[in-house]
Symmetry: D2
Subunit: 422 residues, 4 copies
């Protein structure tokens, strides 16, 4: 079902006019934020996360700055203080509010930010028909950018709610029946040989997805599904978090320093594991893909399992045959969570840590101008994740898509797929 509606969705998607696309993206963001209180939307739970209000405003600032300000003669800034407040990291765009203090902005209120969104939407839709192609491209980029923030908005709210001892739920639980445990992992074999990697230029992509280039793959196999919660519970039961031999040195130091003993949001009471999600605290679904694990944990798990993480090239080679709009991706407001898989899938549910450091492809050049700060400057210290998650808007991700996080981070919907040398 999802598969077919997804296919339709993709067709629809491509057919949408830019204005329709803009309206749809903006509407989904608003819908996701709809159940938030003013306070929910304001508090910053850690430096890695941003307040929902900030996501709502920053994505709007992106359109106002790079489209309205730069391409619409006579556009007056909605509020002259907003560029300082809502620029994220574009050094070329001047001074900005400290990231760690984003949670201090109790004003403007959530309603004030909603008004800002409405005003920019109106101005942008007015201007859209007459925008030059370069500006239209920036509108497209802004939509992609906003989709990224939709996912961050959800994961940041989840983290915030997890810090509240009363553990609020954003949406009621779907109370799905426990699924049967999946069959053991099947292995997709890949022989030695060349593969083409990177975006082929057909449709939108981020600069870091290219240039498309050949690479050599060693003989290997890749799992046909992600690791499940049940399998992870076995890792814990086998002393996985207490056995240094499984861990990278930095990972082991992190485990000891932070007292890590399970995925984020897991708790154990009377021998029963629960997890916290956007639907509150719920029993752990052993059949679903494990999520909220760091790269360090993913790597240690793979080591314990006698396997390794796939490289991003291996992943992309294997995923290329799958539909990137299929799978458990984000369609609408409501609890998002990884779900037991009905069959081999590479997209949705969880972002899959690869063993590849996030570095430029051969011949990579950042885009010109301020938007050129989008990806290239983050190419140190982070690892690539692939495939999208249950919180990734459907249609946003593709086989060449490179997400990236630091190896200790785990508040995203991050999971593990195994690979093995052959």
């Amino acid at each position: 079902m999802i598969e077919s509606s997804a296919r339709e969705s993709r067709v629809t998607h491509d057919a949408l006019s830019l204005a329709e696309r803009y309206v749809a993206v903006r509407a989904l963001t608003a819908a996701l934020a709809e159940p938030l209180s003013d306070a929910d939307a304001t508090v910053q739970s850690m430096e890695d996360a941003s307040p929902a209000k900030w996501h709502l405003a920053h994505t709007t600032w992106f359109f106002e700055t790079f489209v309205l300000r730069d391409f619409v003669p006579g556009h007056r800034l909605y509020d002259e203080r907003f560029p300082f407040l809502f620029n994220s990291y574009y050094e070329a765009e001047g001074q900005r509010h400290q990231r760690a203090r984003r949670g201090m902005l109790t004003r403007p209120t959530l309603d004030g930010i909603r008004a800002y969104r409405a005003a920019i939407d109106e101005a942008l839709l007015d201007a859209l028909p007459d925008l030059p192609p370069k500006a239209q491209d920036l509108v497209r980029l802004g939509c992609q950018h906003e989709e990224q923030h939709q996912e961050l908005l959800l994961t940041d709210i989840l983290h915030l709610f997890s810090e509240n001892p009363i553990e609020p739920a954003l949406w009621p639980s779907s109370h799905r029946r426990p699924a049967a445990l999946p069959a053991p992992i099947g292995w997709i074999e890949h022989p030695d040989g060349e593969a083409w990697i990177g975006h082929d230029g057909d449709g939108f992509s981020f600069d870091c997805e290219g240039p498309r280039h050949r690479t050599l793959l060693a003989p290997h196999a890749i799992a046909d599904r992600p690791v499940t919660n049940g399998e992870w519970a076995d890792f814990i039961a086998d002393g996985g978090y207490e056995t240094s031999a499984h861990w990278l040195s930095d990972g082991w130091a992190w485990v000891r320093r932070e007292g890590i003993a399970a995925p984020l949001y897991w708790e154990r009471s009377d021998g029963i594991w629960t997890r916290f999600g956007l639907d509150g605290r719920q029993p752990l679904d052993l059949a679903a893909p494990v999520t909220h694990v760091s790269f360090y944990e993913a790597d240690a798990y793979a080591s314990w399992a006698g396997a390794r993480l796939p490289t991003e090239a291996e992943w992309e080679a294997a995923a290329g045959r799958h539909n990137p709009c299929g799978g458990n991706l984000l369609d609408a407001p409501g609890p998002v969570e990884p779900r037991p898989s009905a069959g081999p899938a590479f997209f949705g549910d969880v972002w899959e840590w690869t063993g590849s450091a996030y570095r430029p492809y051969p011949g990579f050049r950042p885009a010109a101008g301020a938007v050129g700060e989008y990806n290239g400057k983050f190419m140190s210290g982070q690892f690539v994740l692939r495939g999208g998650s249950c919180a990734t808007p459907r249609g946003h991700v593709r086989a060449s898509y490179r997400n990236f996080f630091y190896p200790h981070q785990r508040w995203q919907f991050t999971g593990v797929r195994l690979a093995s040398d052959r």
Copy 2:
């Protein structure tokens, strides 16, 4: 004018029934919080401060716990999770939420906390006529406790708003005309001799204000008014913050480490000083008492001025003849700020740092039970302040009242009165 209405207020105050007193205190708290948004009331701007919502709930928890729970048979807790969330520091009352994470509680909402207040108010007023005297004393203590939190609520909101680059105002400015600069400091002489210090037991007092006891005062003089903003500006202009000789060693380390160069909330632009307050950023009133200075700054200023801070005994001996309900104290919602003094005053405007470390009086014994944690356990590392401020509810403070803060803290309305050996 204020003097006479204050005197009336005091009369009224004493005459109020306990129920009337309870209602008045609770109403003032609610009125102070009235202009706050849900987000304003939720965010914690630093570990020293608490969210307004927390103040509103914690003061209510105090009544529910120590009165309703302990003295009203059959009282059911309003919410079983609240004791964990809203206990401040009473170890005897069990586990509690980490102080530094109070700002994570976006739920319950501000309206939810208002409903909690209403429910407890109703239950307490119902129960009040039948409460035993010991419980009525706890209601009186609870009112005093809530008055302390009224002041903290205002200073914490001020700090939060100061962290917002758009510098919101809670209330419009009173736009008072600049007052004439006051006459030079006059000195109130005091000869060598004994003085009685501490509360005499007539009316309410906190345990740390007693026992009343004799002390010996050396010959000295004490200033007839606090130091003004104008005088402080002279200290700055004379290199006060760059001259180590004026400073205590810990104070100098603090100045260098934190880059301190003026009182908190002061800014200089084009040679003009402004200050931030609950009415937003305003020109500095040179005639008003300086405020938001730390003990370290107060001590350095006194050293620069060839004087010293008074001891708390000297202060109390001098203040004993003054009306503690007179002066610039808090009566109602609206911008609070120190104001130029019309004459010698020891109460209101600013809490005055003394040179006395906060330690127990001879024979001090903490009260029994959980409320015994109220004062005694804080008797290390802090200095005594006297006299109340523009944010202290009128009627709350008295000559024997001992406030206390760490020597680097300055987000309260703290100021300086000089003394001198004779």
Copy 3:
């Protein structure tokens, strides 16, 4: 025996010419440092401590700077880089090496510093006969200053050695036989009344010991001996470190944050307590005074014991009748440790925490010039200790002597004497 030799020593002491006194002090410092290796003398084990080499050089710098440089025409600095390296905290003396980096100075070597000492000794003894009285006073002050550093040198080395897993001994153990446990604490009663406190000006004193002044004492009793290791073990066994009710709030936070569960250098193995000292790790002597406890611990113990710490005035009033040169004080190199007391004693063994914050006496004025930074600028955040320890050179301490440390510090030979309201 010690008593009588102590008395003799005092007589001798007073009779010593200044040159003899200088030679004796300098020789003791050298003798204490004699067993140190170059490395022992160089490493800094924590920011509170200094390397032995630094103590050896800094005390020498004091004489060179304040005597030779300032009073001996034509004196050429021994090394122009030394003032930067060996100034401790005299802001008036200009820039100086960061305290926390003192342990980086592997050069000059220990032998190099010994040569520096010899050169300054020669120059100073040459100059001494012709020095003006003011300079001779500075030589006397320098000797007192060096005696203070003798104690710090020993406690800093002890701390350094405690950080070495092989736990070296500076000197062999005296292997004294276990003493009988002392009789229960006896109480010295003191009625209400005036007492004179502070140095009377007869002989040397530090500026902070004056002015001498009257004070009022409330009726109280003071213990006739310090608390013993055996009594402290009872406190531990009774859950003293796990019971928040005994502790000041700052103290409890310190216990939890640092995981404090016993005095510094205590270890428990198979139910047996040992302590580490300058003679290595040895069984705990239950009859000896407890040492290496912080103010927080001392205060908590007193609270547990139903008593309190004495004020410094109470202590001084009681100690005034005792011989400050008697007791277990430092005479010569060799293991120093608190020893079971043969009778009522107020001097030696352990510095006794008082309940008094270290603040100026009425009328206190710091000395003029750079040496005026000696005491006054430390008068915030610290507590007074009285009585000297086993590492305090005999003759250095007196009834009016005010030592001071922060309430969490415990690497000095610090202990506890109880007092009680009457």
Copy 4:
């Protein structure tokens, strides 16, 4: 000259018996440490560095543990406390002393450690003839391991001495005449195509250098020499450290947080740059390769220069034709420093940052047993450096050799070679 003696050295090297090799390596370590005082050899200047004494002991512990203990029946540990003290990071070898506290070990003394070395040398040379091949391989590995520590010993001492305001020199300066500035960078072109990368199994290599495998190289060019001090000075003069656009995001945060404005050990006085080295502070040689720069700096420089860093595969492909025993490598005690190059060279002078994250090669498996912790567990967060430096023992490095450090580290002799897409 160096070239030819180097070639001879290699020949000799290969021909050396294992005993001769062992003796030579151990002797060089001792000779490097010869001018150190006991204190020089004891102090730890930062957590990244270790005391010289620790290097001397740890390398000895390696032989004692993995050879004598494991393969020589009846071997009694030299000192049972040493495994705890001198294990570095081998989790499988049990508990160990905290890395950050290595500088606390003033005992054993430097002479004590020298005696340890002598005893183990004697035992090992006695046992060597009868050791099984597997143990002989461990001796070979131990020699390689000790060569790595020879370089660390030098760079750690350099860092320690740099923390001393008197800036000691370990060896006198060679006072070489300034060389002429080198010709502009020449570019070695490389077409698209396959290359074999990794060690071919002929002679010693570390596990991380294999397996040897094919890789695809994009068309590019690589510089024929490293960037010089003079070129770096141009980067500084052009505002390189103040222009965010050149920097990776993490790098820019590091520059701002740490106040970085030049390579480590550079200082500017009166417009003249100097650098600190093992021969003390000396004028900067503009013709020599820049060193003590971090990956962040290297990457920013390349960006400023319109180039990029080479990948490790590109580097290895280009370096494969060069003699790894030629160039400015370490032969004997005496000042080591990068020197102006006489011609194209890929080995010696400075380790060259590549743009490759340090990750496993396809099919990589760590060695079995405790020595398997040697390389694999460090494969996150670090970048690969290639080519060896002036402090790398001649004969130690080869084209496939992979060194690795975190991107902010720069106390090694690290430098920059540019590459460019074609």
